[in-house]
Symmetry: C2
Subunit: 338 residues, 2 copies
DNA sequence: GGGTCTGTAGAAACCGGTTTCTATTCGGGC
DNA sequence: GCCCGAATAGAAACCGGTTTCTACAGACCC
């Protein structure tokens, strides 16, 4: 009924705790167990449905086999759609590498708590935007990787190449004849801090536009603009023919407001958004997106973390950057001369 | 740097481990500590930034202060939008009650693993649809509550009142003159098993329609129908004026296909969906929904679990049912006489 | 036959906490 | 001054595992 202990298994098999532990952990380092005894022990384990406590075993053993996952596991209400995908990829890769991923729900806005509150071999920090918490983790000396977020001195960071993604989006639009391309920025703050991508995309937009000799839109700066005001100003007044949106939620909001204001997509303006997902494919017009490949960032992050844990030298100076991908659908079209 | 132990705190304060433990746990049961000594200990704790290991303390103490959360924390790719909301509500309420919620990512489709793999006071199982895993948990004797899913003999279950929700939806449509109302069912299987709501909504639809003397649609049964085929048959051929969709993802798929087929919502048919969320408000037409209030189910679930853990008698025979809510938006309209 | 090496497995220490048991000091009643 | 109980705090046991240390049996060699 209740969970049974190593002692109970040992008693049932008529051996000592140590022998059971050795058999279960396949300890062959200078030791061996007679096949017959091994059989008896394994039978007892099976009969009692024994499984060791995942955490108590971490006390004595050097390797815990545990990876702690920090951060908003329960995604925020209006959070991006890509978050779950990324975390899932990371977890699956760690699982495949034989690690058990574990997390405790500690509110990041609560009293400054340590993370992790248990012993583990490494830490994954998805979508980080809490510098204080990160600094504490950094000081702990544990190997950690910040996935889709920045790291401090001792950790690694894997992020998306926002410059390349912006370039992908703008090239796509410029190739199709667009010259006045507005950017709808996000000013959502998570726990009082912005996600790095907000500033990165905003800045890349300015640079890439300038590089093409085009004027950036008025509203790509730091102050918040309502969707309706944005569309009135940029599309109706300034005559922009295309909009790049910070993420899917903003793109959806823009699409809704455009419909309400009598603006058609892509006839009156083209729309392209960061993040891809089920919704982008389901809505009409289907949204052209800059996808953030979850598989790629997940795999790269886990590879990096495993290297750190193995003590191999890794790139810590600069974040590893994952390429973004253009997914062309119906919301962008060519304009023939202006 | 590395995490420090109770012993280190004790040494620094010049006292024994037991005294530190007593001070930190506010042990006053027949014991007391001189204010001056308490001060010194607390100072040492602060200086060393000490926090006890969350799991190791569970070994000896009767109360662990831990709640395990089973299930798909990393939600499935195309999963419903309501899942995160519900889990978050549950976690926040447990947190408020002083419990630490913890989860390990164990693939539910993997080798049959026990859950939880550590000692805890109770278990939360959100969105359950894995009977085998649940049966094991049930046998463990731990207090547990199945949130938005069914339980076995020893656990409690809190689900939504699907019958009432279907009634809400159909009454809304019938009041507005609809008589031919089709139902678009889901046949998604999660880990080989269906979520209880699939059968519940399907069945309730049949009953409520019959109760109103109306004929249910052809396609509300168990076999899968493509959205296009569904719309051709039900709307174009059979002349249905309204559709009730199993969830938001299916509603989105229906909206997309309708647009592609030249069917307008709500002019050509009204659409109402289960689940509510950001997307329902963002798309056009805004979707009329049967909302599944996350706060209500979260609060009720936690209340129930805490009662079980306190040894109080609770309702185990039947699931507790949470009322669903009608959110009227733009996708449904009245038809004036037929 | 004695010494040594190897295979096998139990005993015991240990991890980091909580709880129980025990010891000492102090104050008060006589 | 002595006895006793309350207040205070250390010592030690314990939780459930892993790892190290130790012990014993048998094989092999000389």
């Amino acid at each position: 009924m209740a969970k049974c202990s190593l002692k109970m298994v040992a008693d049932r098999a008529g051996v000592s705790k140590s022998t059971v532990s050795r058999v279960l952990n396949k300890y062959t380092e200078g030791f061996s167990v007679k096949p017959e005894l091994r059989e008896r022990i394994l039978r007892a384990v099976q009969e009692l449905d024994y499984e060791p406590d995942l955490f108590i075993r971490t006390m004595k053993s050097k390797k815990t086999g545990l990876i702690a996952c920090q951060g908003e596991l329960v995604t925020s209400r209006h959070g991006g759609f890509e978050r779950d995908d990324i975390t899932r990829e990371v977890v699956n890769h760690l699982d495949a590498a034989g690690y058990n991923v574990c997390s405790t729900y500690n509110k990041m806005d609560g009293k400054s708590q340590y993370f992790p509150p248990f012993k583990c071999d490494g830490v994954v920090v998805p979508h980080n935007c809490n510098p204080a918490r990160l600094r504490k983790l950094d000081q702990s000396g544990l190997p950690y990787v910040s996935v889709n977020g920045l790291a401090c001195g001792n950790g690694c960071s894997v992020i998306f190449d926002e410059r390349q993604g912006v370039q992908l989006a703008l090239d796509h639009l410029i190739e199709r004849g667009h010259r006045k391309i507005a950017y709808y920025n996000a000013l959502r703050r998570i726990n009082g801090k912005q996600h790095y991508s907000i500033k990165a995309r905003q800045q890349a937009y300015g640079e890439v536009m300038q590089h093409h000799g085009l004027a950036p839109s008025d509203y790509y700066g730091d102050h918040f603009v309502e969707v309706e005001d944005f569309l009135s100003h940029e599309i109706k007044a300034n005559g922009a023919t295309a909009v790049l949106a910070y993420d899917l939620t903003l793109a959806l909001a823009l699409m809704g407001a455009a419909r309400d204001m009598g603006l058609r997509i892509p006839d009156d303006f083209s729309l392209i958004s960061f993040n891809d997902g089920f919704v982008a494919e389901a809505i009409r017009p289907k949204l052209t997106c800059i996808a953030l490949p979850a598989e790629d960032i997940g795999k790269a992050s886990v590879t990096l973390l495993l290297q750190m844990m193995a003590g191999e030298p890794v790139q810590k100076e600069h974040p590893v950057k994952i390429k973004e991908k253009l997914v062309i659908r119906e919301s962008t079209r060519a304009i023939f001369d202006r």
